[in-house]
Amino acid sequence: MQIIKDKAIIEDTFTTLADDAEPTRGDISVSLSRWKRDRELLLAHPGKVGVRLQASDATADLADDLKRIDLIELDFADFADGRLFSHAWLLRGRYHYQGEIRATGHYLLDQIFYLSRVGVNAFKPAKAEQLASILANLHDFSVKYQPSIV
């Protein structure tokens, strides 16, 4: 499937791995608890590894491993749960994470501008037709008042 990354449409190479599934070939993303449990095994995996964060997870739990993780997914169970915005800010602003931060799940298209400002650089659409809107929403505002990540 296609996603937006760095303001362009690209092919998504990651497969979401359930907590009890065997690692597949290629790039995989796992939950934080799976990461904690199988860290060594996952690091030995030949493809890239991503970790999925829920709003209730703490970014500090991942701080020491960030250099080895290629993708962090912020998984919105509820668009109104603003903790994920702080998670993105902390990952970029405090831990200086350089990899991909991707919004997934039930976020709103109207949150894309905000998400991009706190450091989210990739967006997985709920439906393929949304790709164009996401690109457009990145430009909802041409001005901003306060410093953030972007």
């Binding site: 709003a55 668009f79 109104a80 749960d81 603003g82 903790r83 915005f85 702080s86 800010w89 405090r94 709103l108 109207d110 949150q111 501008f113 905000y114 998400l115 400002r117 706190v118 909802d140 505002f141 041409s142 001005v143 901003k144 008042y145 306060q146 410093p147 953030s148």
Partner: protein, 550 residues
């Protein structure tokens, strides 16, 4: 007054365009009710009993005449000819059509106004002292800091989906006219031992169903750190505020459950990591201050002899002068209140004709500016004493000169059952009834400073829990009842009122209030205020009389 630059103007226009698209998406069925709800609330649009209700931001209560005329125009063209001023210094329209709200926002943008973040779980409009910049008890004008906070809070990317709404108030005076102790964050300009000016920061205050008085989290904060400190508090709140229960989601609950010590440790630790690099430079403060330089006062204003003559010749004017004007720091000037508490009009309401006329008065007498107040009135802040008499005459003709500011008929009142879908009971009708029962102005003046605040439900929009006399509408098996509290205050000695006893029925409220006032008049000592008497004697004497009458 702050004037938008190109960036500010672009932002409100782009926001209006964004909201137009959101409304269209909703009407096309591309946004669910829930999704649209979160978005429309961030633009101040509630869906109420009869129609939507649109809340417009009035940053720290400051308005100019052009904006007032625009509100008049909106009242005429999009509403039923009036608007409502709220306890948060904002303006509400009760009858706009959902489909036309985008047009209203375009109209507002043309006069540097908007509805951004006037409701929803985000940082709301910052409120302040309506006498800012002219008050005689002021250490420093709080408005430049309000404006700095306004810009920082507007479309803040990280803190727009908070656990709950978030309100900040700033005061720069000795007497707190902005209820800073009852806000999520209260900011108070103070001097430290070295004589430097900075901020005392309070946190965790708030009203609603669990009213809480804010606590000092930092006795002194250097000015340059204002935004980093606010950011530290907001980040901790965003991450740790409860999201499992909306009634426990305010920062007051987080502070209470965590304990102030532990909470401030978290904030301090966060702040230490961000404060370097987020400083407010002196140049930036100075640039914003330049928007609030005093107007061109007439240095001869105090030479005027006419005021003394008018005051002695005209008792009605003298009464208005005594109650509805306030001291001004410039000799020869006064601040004049416009009372939105005429006996026959709902508290805080203004018609389109009044709005237009007041805009003209602001232009003629007060440098084209005015302020909305926490107690739902307006202020013309810079009136030459020689102009007070003609101003009073003009206001009298407009029914805006009721001499009742700070008296028992200057009631704060929410819309209650008349408009609000959350209400348990009516409040506008009760306010009217109390007003009628107290139609003797001499009696009202003799009673003096008694603040009645009345809300139609425990959300407390009219701050009933901190009224000297608080009236709260409650629902008992489908009929309207009222819980009365005494001894609350939102000023320096902030206090939550104490319950008098069981709620009283709708047809007994007015009697209960007049009885309470009667007990005060009979048992007060010399110059004792109502609040002082309640502090001295407690609620028992009031309780005995109110319930004995039943």
């Amino acid at each position: 007054m702050y004037q938008y630059n190109e960036q500010d103007q672009t932002l409100v226009e782009e926001r209006a365009a964004q909201y137009r698209r959101q409304t269209e998406d909703f009407l096309k069925g591309e946004l669910t009710e829930d999704q649209f709800r979160a978005l429309r609330l961030r633009n101040g649009l509630y869906i109420q009993t009869h129609a939507p209700m649109l809340r417009i931001a009035v940053p720290y209560g400051l308005l100019n005449s052009k904006q007032l005329r625009k509100l008049a125009h909106i009242a005429r063209e999009f509403d039923k000819g009036y608007c409502h001023f709220t306890t948060r210094q904002n303006v509400q329209f009760n009858w706009p059509e959902l489909e036309r709200v985008p047009d209203i926002l375009d109209e507002l943008a043309s006069v540097q106004m908007h509805s951004i973040q006037t409701s929803g779980n985000c940082m709301r409009n910052t409120t302040s002292d309506p006498l800012a910049g002219v008050a005689i008890d002021e250490l420093e004008d709080p408005r430049p800091y309000c404006e700095i906070i306004r810009q920082w809070t507007t479309l803040h990317p990280e803190f727009d989906y908070l656990p709950r709404k978030f309100k900040i108030a700033v005061s720069g005076a000795q007497l707190d006219r902005a209820a800073t102790q009852l806000h999520d964050i209260g900011v108070h300009l103070v001097k430290n031992d070295q004589g430097e000016t900075g901020f005392r920061i309070l946190v965790g205050g708030g009203l609603g169903r669990t009213p809480v008085i804010g606590q000092v989290i930092r006795p002194f904060l250097d000015k340059q750190h204002l935004l980093s400190y606010l950011e530290a508090i907001l980040r901790i709140y965003n991450l740790f505020g409860r999201r499992d229960n909306k009634y426990k989601a305010r920062i007051k609950i987080l502070v209470k459950e965590t304990g102030l010590d532990k909470f401030s440790e978290l904030v301090e630790a966060e702040w230490q990591q961000i404060k370097d690099g987020m400083e407010l430079s002196d140049a930036r403060i100075a640039a914003i201050k330049a928007h609030f330089t005093p107007p061109a006062y007439d240095t001869d204003a105090a030479q005027d002899q006419s005021l003394a003559t008018q005051l002695s010749a005209n008792p009605a004017f003298a009464t208005w002068y005594k109650y509805n004007t306030a001291a001004h720091r410039v000799p020869g000037y006064r601040a004049a209140f416009i009372s939105l508490k005429a006996p026959d009009s709902p508290p805080g309401d203004m018609t389109d004709t009044q709005l237009d006329a007041v805009a003209d008065l602001a232009d003629r007498y007060s440098f084209g500016q005015l302020r909305s107040t926490h107690r739902q009135n307006l202020i013309l802040a810079d009136i030459k004493q020689a102009d007070l008499f003609s101003l009073w005459q003009a206001l009298t003709n407009l029914k805006l000169a009721t001499p009742n500011i700070g008296t028992v008929t200057d009631i704060i009142c929410c819309p209650g059952l008349d408009f609000c879908s959350l209400a348990n009971a009516g409040s506008i009708g009760v306010a009217k009834e109390i007003n009628e029962a107290l139609d003797d102005l001499d009696y009202v003046h003799d009673i003096g400073d008694v603040k009645i605040n009345m809300s139609g439900c425990m959300n407390g929009c009219a701050h009933q829990s901190v009224g000297h006399i608080g009236i709260l509408g409650v629902d008992k098996k489908g009929s309207e009842w009222y819980q009365i509290t005494l001894g609350g205050s939102s000023e320096n000695e902030a206090a939550i009122g104490e319950r008098l006893g069981p709620a009283v029925a709708r047809d007994e409220v007015t009697q209960a209030i007049t009885t309470i006032l009667d007990v005060y008049v009979k048992q007060r000592q010399e110059e004792e205020s109502f609040l002082d008497m309640v502090k001295r004697v407690g609620i028992t004497p009031f309780k005995e009389r109110v319930y004995a009458d039943h």
